[in-house]
Symmetry: D3
Subunit: 252 residues, 6 copies
């Protein structure tokens, strides 16, 4: 069930039997010559929506903009400062906790978000931990699942693309986003496989290192048909992780 | 053209002939017994997407969560503090300005966002205005269009619902969101028309005043078929406003 | 009763019979060739002081600096960033709520403050709304009255100045500020009526659009004698609004 | 010349011959049984206004609310958090520097403001100092003068009240504020001289230590006639300090 | 060379031949029954100091407090909120960059810091990336090395403790901190090996899961003599990483 | 007892008989041609450690970086913005209060920290004072002792150096830091005694005024042997102040 398509009374009914919710989080950033700017949001969103439908889990609105400062030298990239993204996630989590959700599970599509999402979790926990046992608050567990690290998806990528999968604008994520968006954008790559290196730098440095935006990948191997398979496996990976997460019992 | 579905090179090509972009902004909040939680995001998003397609305007990712603190006593509502939303909009605008966009036009679906969006514009302008003429920055114009105030849409609502249109969970927005989401949720209303009053209060007070979440409306009059008509008129209203906005020339 | 002139024991006695307080808020910004930089603070302050005396309402210290970034290209303008003004209003309101005030009523003299003041109210309410029903806090109602939108004052301005009243450095506010400050500064206007346009822009753009600072007005029509009449009507308008506001009952 | 009563063109003319401005800063806080809540703002404001008139110095709007957290257990006190006051002073100073003011001189009426004002100065300087010599900014000197520490005023207080002057709600400041407000509020004190102790504590502790709000003072000795003398000496003290401050030459 | 023990002229001389500096960062948090509260700071600090001496690298002051919210239910733990630690690292890095340092290398002793340190790096880069190519700033590379993940140290821990090394209050870090502090605190462990689980939770939950503070470790195996060996290997690991980092060339 | 060298169980035992803790705070900034960059941290740290050992007081980790913006034109200086240092101290104090510490005593080595530390105390108190008597929090007293203002130390400095002690890079602090660091750095001074003036300015202005970083001092008179004597007297001064501070009883 998508929160955006539910009424508040349907949410109330959902809360009577489950305290868990899934929130997709991505990024709006360049993904090389043939990848969509929205790739990192489209991938976790499509997985979350399919999972929500198959398993009756509530899915919140996608956080489509993430921490993408290193991609800002490419047109179309939008980035939140880490401090801004921490505030967004804090308010989102506090709103959900206010309604009685105890397990908030983020499905993430962007490696560059991981540190900031974890810092945001720690910011939320800090308020509770500093207050100590005087706190009257209900328990809260926060989970982060990076779909691109799921076992099943990794195995398929290895089988389809071997070393040409790469690290940014990967063949797998370009495929899944194409499938989710119902499009394909065939572009010839030059060089076929992009250079590798560290993405932990500012935007000018990043563009110097990775002139067309790709990192170590050959996404000319991508196809929407592949994307369909990544979606199915992504749902299995995420569902497994979500079920384990629900078993995580915070102090109350 | 949706930014999420474009490559960075397509954005680069777009910038060669236009410096304007449209960003939908909404809210994730209760909309009464039959309205969708995502109503305020779905409405401007569907208008922006249709406008973008018809007129070749680039449309950024939807800011689905807005300032909805007064709705927090109803399950499903997610709200950003005004200070958080200001930071989000500042980072979004600064990212776009970095690429050379000079006209950023927000299509808004939520009355409760207006004050904070305007404060965010002033926050962005403040940095430039405090620096004075030493600033090397390019000109920047920020626009806000509230679709629910568009002339054509207002006229249709008056014709279809007269005084039962109301102020929150209105018959028109419920219709448009149903059409956008491809759903209808018929629910009997009691009382048929909801009470009126001020929404400028905290969440507990709001719920006391408006027990089922509606303000002055009878959205049992809504239908997806109506929504289709509101979409068409919303695009006309927004396109007219966007064209006027592009004529707004900031100092450079 | 002016808070600045009261002892704390007088405030304590006041609180025994009333939980309402009035706070004037203005701006320190250019007001054209003959208008005072303090116009937007002097107007609501003089109204609040007169109202306080006539009706025994406590009046807090004037917030003389507001959000005036668009006027910063004219010497003498002082502006708070929206985020700063939100913090000031939050601390002011929290201090008053701490003493048991439940109704804080701002009389405002500056259109450019409206969005930020409303965002500040929402910021204060957000804290309460996010805490939910666990909150032990007392009820709180926040009101904003823009004196320049009062019915009686509008009618007098229409009668005296018709279309030459304008939108900034208006004939009416220049008159009232002159009366409040006990001064008149006759200056010939050229052009007689200033150009119109949007003030939602940065400071350089504003000065380009409005070279002498006025927007659509001819304040050479102003006089302190007019100001005296605007003061009397402003008090009537504000008193009516304040009484209605006291009837606004938040949840407790 | 009071900025509030000037036009922007008068400010422009002033800047042609002087780059200095005076800003009064006070507090809104209890001042014992017979002292005005606005004492700490009224004192520096009346000194600044008189100085401005006598010596042709521009005087900005009074910052009437300061850092008064320790007085919050007494009704009527309004306090800004230090972080808020730092932001207010930063924006005020940056606005003035934007117009070309190089010397901003605060006349302060509240001991509890000193640390925060100095922290605010350091916050403003930090931005410049971190940017280093690449900075294109004009020089900036920030001054703080505490009127209650002026030599001439101290001597008169010692002569009139000896040890009964005290540390808060002092006989001298109550006198000056009475004179400035045109009022006298005779109240019998019990004990005649208030207890002494540290004010660096929270509000509950402060009220426990100083039950009627006074610290070490007997303000029943105060009179408006005394206040008139403190005003004259305060102007002399402040003028001497301001002239010395203008000789302070920052790097440009 | 330790910065704390250098004069500014010695730093100036150092900058003439090297633009790199090492900053130890740790945490002040419980480390089980026999581990020191300062373990996470003592470990990277002792490695940095020894490396600095052996290889002539400048070592800045240790950031002894980190992000340790999950340990706050144990007395002695001090934690910075992530947002605070981000600000500290931003100011530290900006200060160093001001002097011409282009490579700032953090040696970290606490897993819980990693996300926040990376978010802080991104916060610093964001300012530069948002400004774009107009920026006049010098290049900047930021590095993070977690001593406890160094290859040589890992191998020794595996050899000495096998699976009893654990994840918090590990046998290796307790040994190194003992050696650095010149102390040993033999305490019997019960159970001998602590339970395992996730540390991503609030403080109350953490203490419930890990009653004596250890995670999966048996630090009764620790000894200062082991610590001496971990120090030597830690220096080798860090030196290798630092040299690689200096080869990282940001855009200038 | 140093917190860094204690286990959490030792801290727990300490809390059973004392609720006070000492935290050294300094700065990382130039101290003239022969003074150590870490002088302001080394001095209070060595005093705190010796005091802690002699009197069994718990000593927290040293805050080695302070507010030193005015020294940033000299290589090696690291400065926190006042707003950052306020956040650091707030989190440190809240962490300690969480464990039941009621008296937190900072021994400070840097005059430039005083305003910001006091602002930080006020920031912490503000949260409590704004909440009012509804607050369930335990009492909290915050103390600041500037070792360089201790009576015994002042007397020795006057005897050894008379007027050549100076105001920054003083002969006494250089001596104590040399003793603490086990080093001496003899450098000839020219001029022998540095110029005097105000340090309340930005970094460029400071360096113009004080070309080698000293203010009014002749630290060529310094010696580690002197430092040993300043340490002993500093411990006596601080111990006296700490005992008085423990007698300070906040409301509970």
């Amino acid at each position: 069930m998508r929160l955006q398509h539910a009424t508040w009374q349907e949410v109330e009914a959902y809360l009577a039997h489950s305290r868990g919710i899934i929130v997709p989080i991505g990024s709006t950033e360049q993904h090389g010559p043939n990848g969509l700017v929205g790739t990192d949001a489209l991938c976790p969103e499509s997985i979350a929506w399919a999972l929500g439908e198959q398993h009756g889990v509530l899915v919140g609105p996608t956080q489509a903009i993430g921490m993408a400062q290193h991609h800002l030298a490419f047109p179309g990239t939008i980035s939140l400062r880490p401090s801004t993204l921490v505030a967004v996630l804090r308010d989102t989590i506090e709103s959900l906790a206010r309604h009685g959700f105890t397990h908030v599970f983020f499905i993430n599509g962007h490696g560059g978000n991981i540190a900031t999402v974890k810092a945001a979790f720690a910011e939320v926990y800090s308020e509770r931990s500093l207050r100590g046992s005087h706190s009257a608050e209900s328990p809260l567990a926060l989970g982060l699942f990076n779909w691109f690290m799921g076992r099943r998806g990794r195995e398929l990528a290895a089988k389809l693309y071997a070393d040409d999968e790469g690290y940014h604008a990967t063949a797998s994520e370009v495929s899944l986003a194409w499938y989710a968006a119902g499009t394909e954008k065939p572009v010839a790559m030059s060089p076929r496989v992009a250079p590798n290196g560290s993405a932990e730098c500012d935007a000018e440095t990043f563009r110097q290192r990775f002139p067309d935006g790709r990192m170590g990948s050959d996404p000319s191997l991508s196809s929407a048909r592949h994307g369909e398979r990544f979606l199915a496996l992504g749902v299995e990976d995420a569902w497994e992780a979500y079920q384990a997460f629900l078993g995580d019992t915070p102090a109350g």
